[in-house]
Symmetry: C2
Subunit: 221 residues, 2 copies
Amino acid sequence: MCSAIRRDGGSDLTARARIRDAAIACFGRHGFDVTVRAIADQAEVSPGLVIHHFGSKAGLQRACDDHVVGLVGALKTESVTAHDDQGFLRQLASMEEYAPYLAYILRALQTGGPLGASLFERMVADAELYLAAGEAEGTIRPSRDPARRARWLTAGALGSILMLVTLGRAGQEIDFAEVFREWETEYMLPALELYTEGLLTERTLLDSYLRHTEEHSEEAD
Amino acid sequence: MCSAIRRDGGSDLTARARIRDAAIACFGRHGFDVTVRAIADQAEVSPGLVIHHFGSKAGLQRACDDHVVGLVGALKTESVTAHDDQGFLRQLASMEEYAPYLAYILRALQTGGPLGASLFERMVADAELYLAAGEAEGTIRPSRDPARRARWLTAGALGSILMLVTLGRAGQEIDFAEVFREWETEYMLPALELYTEGLLTERTLLDSYLRHTEEHSEEAD
DNA sequence: TAGTCTATTGAACATGTGTTCAGCAATCAG
DNA sequence: CTGATTGCTGAACACATGTTCAATAGACTA
């Protein structure tokens, strides 16, 4: 019968952990279509053992998700000092050792599914906190709907990174140093320009939209 | 030996065209991992005929790409009257009959590859034209780098749509009426707010970035 | 009607991939 | 040394999927 695994009471250097780390690396590098055999090779074990430990490929991915979520949570509570639009994404990016986790997270966002959605929500919540703090300081303009603004800014920034990765290197590996460098040289200037100076010279579009929603607020909500 | 197909001189109601249309619909609805058999079912032909006409699944996808590109090009030259940030994407969205092509385009952008990249470049070029026109009219603020600004705005808007689709409905079908409705209720207000009023109250970030790039412009370019 | 040509079928094939399982080897108790 | 427990292997299995091909049906010509 299948016995439980924790052979030395919780230490995390077992074959199970090695497989999980190899899976995170492979999923991050090649996407979630990577084969169990490739993961097994990376972990230097047999394909059978992968299934033996995690029940199925889906179970393995779930374990990877859980591990990454735990790691993100730990990192977040550890250092709440950084003030940044990107939240923990940039924080992770600054540390070379966390590159595989970053790749995994980007794949999760690219693929969709529960992990990607929950990470996105987390980033939105972070962005809202940072924006509120900036608003309190006076460096960020107030918004008619801070929650939606945080979501929009996050979706735009993250979406642009995702498009860079998806369109630039379809099917290839992800090199984060390069992706972030490219993002900066390509988008930093227009982003700062837009954030500080805006895009439109007139208020007509915004005002007419606000009027339009006011008129229709009687039948909704 | 395999003969050419155009049996009646170019009319497009042959089985080949039916297969191609079914493939566009299936690819758009379920992504490019959809099976040849599913496409054959949709077109009410045998799987063998699909391969017979297009050589392989990759060939079929190439034919779909070409057809969509041609359609987009035709639509573009047909009506150059609309002035909009989204370019032909919104234009397509307004027409119910083009829903499958829109879905296909979004899948192409989501998956990456040559079609997605070329469509993206096209949208960037469109956006740049529209922005330049607005700048000439005086409704759009001038930019230090109009090309990069157009790219950034396009990537942000498109990326946010893509994230909505990817995170909201992973693996499910795409309903564009719903996606665009959701985009509008979720992002229209903060987008207009950002575009007309900006985000930051101070110029320090932008100015320091500009100074930073000036300092380093001696070794590059 | 007979003949030919071509579009079409559907069963079979090849391959890739998740999963299973009987057995091996290493460790440890006695 | 012996026996047993257990992590682990790798060959085999089942299934999905792209692809092939011999056979068929339908249409057009003479």
